[in-house]
């Protein structure tokens, strides 16, 4: 060692100062890394807290998409997807599915007609041990370009029209989503809704070629438009009752469609649809053949984390899957710690199949 200061002449006080500095510096670096010195950092805790309504979150429930109902079924893969991804799920075959129809609200008791955005959580498991989880919504584009902008939206929306006007000034991309929300017809059934992944993921084929892909589920049932106030008249939980009786009568189907980006398409921004005419591949059919109330259903304990992907799929430069994974984990940790507040018995649930 070249340092002469370690020689026997150094005073103990100087040595103690060195030790104190090393310990304090390490502790400070740790605190900085943890975000304790950076209150402005967008943490999963802040993002999830911003989802809570004025009266506080619904304890024991998902912090968003809180109202939902479980389903099981299968994914009938036709084998076409193997041209894009080496994931076993795309080889021809039938794989077990677990999912959840839901409404994009933090209130598990929200009336159906008060919630514009509907969603589907989906898990497909394959015999090789891989699991693919996805959480999709019925909007064709996401509301904003970045997680920070989503946080801004959550903070602006409750403050009224002026705040929203200012928000749109900061995030003009919101208008595409707002246009859909304002004009797209409502349906009276989850079975008539499309569900879109919106985020871009990298699919890797057997040769190792990566391609940016988005996916959608297109319903086999024909959408029948309904005005929101007509839907409201059918009752606050009509959608869950309807899908339960509809699936009990006959399995419901969606076609899974992959859309492949071309060079130059923006993959990092789910608020921007790719141009029409992109290559699409129909890779199989989602068949929902059983609906089960959430309180004792198999989807209740599942975090539909969009970064849970099979081999042959990975995240792209789209910033949302990471942000969602981080926030969903926070939501999961919170709701599992509040399990006593969740109406676990089916009888206490708002809807039963």
């Amino acid at each position: 060692m070249s340092r002469s200061s370690t020689g026997p002449t150094r005073s103990p006080v100087a040595s103690l100062v060195v030790i104190a500095l090393v310990v304090a510096g390490s502790a400070a670096a740790f605190a900085y890394t943890a975000g304790w010195l950076s209150p402005e950092r967008l943490t999963p805790t802040r993002l999830v807290s911003a989802l809570a309504p004025a009266g506080g979150p619904a304890l024991g429930h998902r912090r968003n998409h809180a109202k939902g109902i479980c389903f099981t079924g299968e994914f009938q893969s036709n084998g076409n997807g193997v041209t894009l991804s080496r994931a076993q799920v795309f080889t021809a075959g039938t794989w077990p599915v677990l999912g959840r129809f839901n409404l994009a609200t933090a209130n598990p008791n929200a009336a159906d007609a008060t919630v514009r955005v509907r969603g589907m959580g989906l898990q497909i498991a394959t015999p090789d041990g891989d699991v693919w989880r996805s959480a999709m919504i019925d909007a064709p584009v996401f509301a904003v370009s970045t997680p920070q902008a989503f946080f801004d939206l959550l903070q602006s929306a409750p403050k009224g029209a002026e705040a929203m006007k200012a928000f749109i000034g900061r995030h003009p991309e919101f208008m595409a989503f707002a246009g859909w929300a304002g004009t797209a017809p409502w349906t009276s059934s989850y079975a008539e809704d499309s569900f879109n992944g919106l985020n871009s993921f990298l699919f890797t084929d057997a040769a190792g070629t990566p391609r940016a892909v988005r996916w959608s589920l297109r319903p086999a049932a024909t959408p029948v438009p309904i005005a929101p106030d007509e839907l409201a008249k059918r009752g606050p939980n009509y959608l869950e009752q309807e899908i339960a009786s509809r699936v009990a009568a006959a399995p419901q189907r969606w076609t899974m469609v992959l859309t492949v980006a071309e060079p130059g398409d923006v993959t990092a921004d789910p608020s921007k649809a790719w141009p029409a005419g992109r290559r699409t591949v129909e890779v199989g059919t989602l068949v929902v053949n059983k609906v089960i109330g959430e309180p004792d259903g198999p989807c209740r304990d599942i975090n539909f984390d969009p970064t849970v992907l099979p081999r042959g799929m990975s995240v792209s430069d789209d910033p949302f899957p990471a942000a969602r994974s981080s926030a969903y984990a926070r939501s999961y940790d919170l709701r599992t710690s509040e399990a006593k507040d969740y109406p676990r018995t089916a009888a206490a649930g708002s809807a039963k199949p």
Partner: protein, 188 residues
């Protein structure tokens, strides 16, 4: 020269493991608090690194524990006051305990949340517990608070090592130093 020449060093394998794991564990603790503080794209690789490194460190600590039990450790200097001797023994077994417990708690915590445990290279580990809200809550809290305790114990360990190196100069630091330092090492 007050340093005792009877104080030998840990074996080369033990020193290599100590410093390799030290770097890995410090990285783990910083990655752990860092990934939980962000929604940035780095979250995904940080979590994957945390899981992968955690499993690697768990494998290494088992090797290290065997080496420790087989090869032992150099005796502490006879001049060490009893209270410091007790502190040394307790903190070292505390460090071993945490090195073993934290990866297991992390693995169990992911299992009870029904998260697939996927490491880099798409290597998959099976769950070691079934999904359970109450166990997940317990394990998550234990993983978090024991990690903070681990970091505190490491700071104490570093402070004690520097205390031995700079103030007591009793050969304790040199016993684990990666390279022989200023003449305490006997000639090869």
């Amino acid at each position: 020269m007050s340093r005792t020449m009877t104080h030998t060093r840990f074996s080369g394998a033990q020193r290599l493991l100590h410093w390799t794991m030290a770097a890995g564990i410090v990285a783990m603790l910083f990655i752990g608090v860092g990934m939980l503080s962000t929604v940035a794209p780095s979250y995904v690789p940080l979590v994957a690194t945390h899981k992968t490194l955690g499993v690697a460190l768990f494998a290494l600590v088992l090797v290290r524990l065997v080496l420790r039990l087989v090869l032992g450790a150099p005796p502490l200097p006879a001049s060490l006051p009893p209270l410091m001797r007790l502190g040394a023994v307790l903190s070292h077994w505390g460090l071993y305990g945490l090195m073993i417990a934290l990866p297991l708690l992390g693995w169990a915590m992911l299992s009870t949340a029904d998260y697939p445990v996927v490491l880099f290279g798409n290597f998959r580990l099976p769950p070691i517990l079934p999904q359970s809200d109450s166990l997940h809550t317990l394990l998550w809290a234990a993983h978090r608070w024991l990690a903070f305790a681990f970091f505190a114990l490491i700071l104490l360990h570093v402070a004690a090592a520097l205390f031995h190196a700079l103030i007591r100069r009793d050969g304790v630091f040199e016993a684990m130093a990666p390279l022989p330092l200023h003449g305490t090492e006997r000639k090869e």
